[in-house]
Symmetry: C2
Subunit: 203 residues, 2 copies
Amino acid sequence: MQVAVVTFDGFNELDSFVASALINRCRKDGLEAFITTPTPGVTSMNGVEVSGQRPLEFVSEADVVLIGSGIKAREVAADDRLLARLPLDPARQLIAAQCSGALVLARLGLLDGMPACTDRTSRPFVEACGVTVLDVPFHTEGNIATAGGCLASQYLATWVIGRTVGLDAARGVLDYVAPVGENEETVERALRAVRSGEAAALR
Amino acid sequence: MQVAVVTFDGFNELDSFVASALINRCRKDGLEAFITTPTPGVTSMNGVEVSGQRPLEFVSEADVVLIGSGIKAREVAADDRLLARLPLDPARQLIAAQCSGALVLARLGLLDGMPACTDRTSRPFVEACGVTVLDVPFHTEGNIATAGGCLASQYLATWVIGRTVGLDAARGVLDYVAPVGENEETVERALRAVRSGEAAALR
């Protein structure tokens, strides 16, 4: 199973790399994440130049697509040619957005009829798309999920791992990356956030 | 004030990017972090190619030096020529290591007489250097700090921001990057970890 971590110019390192690093701890289980970029290289909001591991066209064959966040999200969401390169299919793929990535999902029509999570900066722009923004870090309905707040990217990764490899694998990853001595609370916090974000959709 | 986030080939994205992204939220306060590499480019443990923002020689002029972690840490720690390019000065600089970065500090003689934090994989190798490893995520004495567990990199960043710009700035950064709705607990958890790691040294 392959995960496209869609990463645009001006990206936030926390959003793309926390998710990809956690997911890549499941390589032995056949789950692998790739930094996926619209140009051969992208530069982060802090000036770090990164080479894409996959071109944007990889989203078509990926089993999971995560839309990262960054300081140019509004430009991305307004770029019809770029959006046309994201032919996502929630019937076949797990699709998730981190922070301002929700703007992209909204513009793709993937948040119609469901609320979403995003960061405080992006919130008014996501709301302007007609999407209700929740005051929680994670929300999912069906095959679509959104997370808000940079460090909630660990919850997106937890959801992806849980939905593909399983909850035991997610627990193992969280236990490994947790601050030493905070293992159990880190695992439980992430699983709780994901469970709450699933339960909310069922109410 | 400039922060060198020393990043070797095979680096763990969580360790270098969580710290640098948090610290770079203080640019407006005059604190700035740079991915600092021994070669023009490095490739992460997950195959992501990143261009260094500063050469390794930058550590001499940096006010703060963070040694990142990765799958080649033991090779780095055994490479005398590479170590010679790290002329760190704890009298003048704040010096910190994330996970296996503690091995590098140990080999540089910077952990003599103090215990350290590291990850579970690196632990036996750090202990083999004669350093006591603690079961906590963060420890500091004087101008030297170590953190263990990938996500404890947020505690290293909190310490750096607190020691340079101040605790209010650290609170502001943690509040911004926290998962939505978990702001207060994220701020308090990080400040508590850093305070505990400072207090332990005073006992």
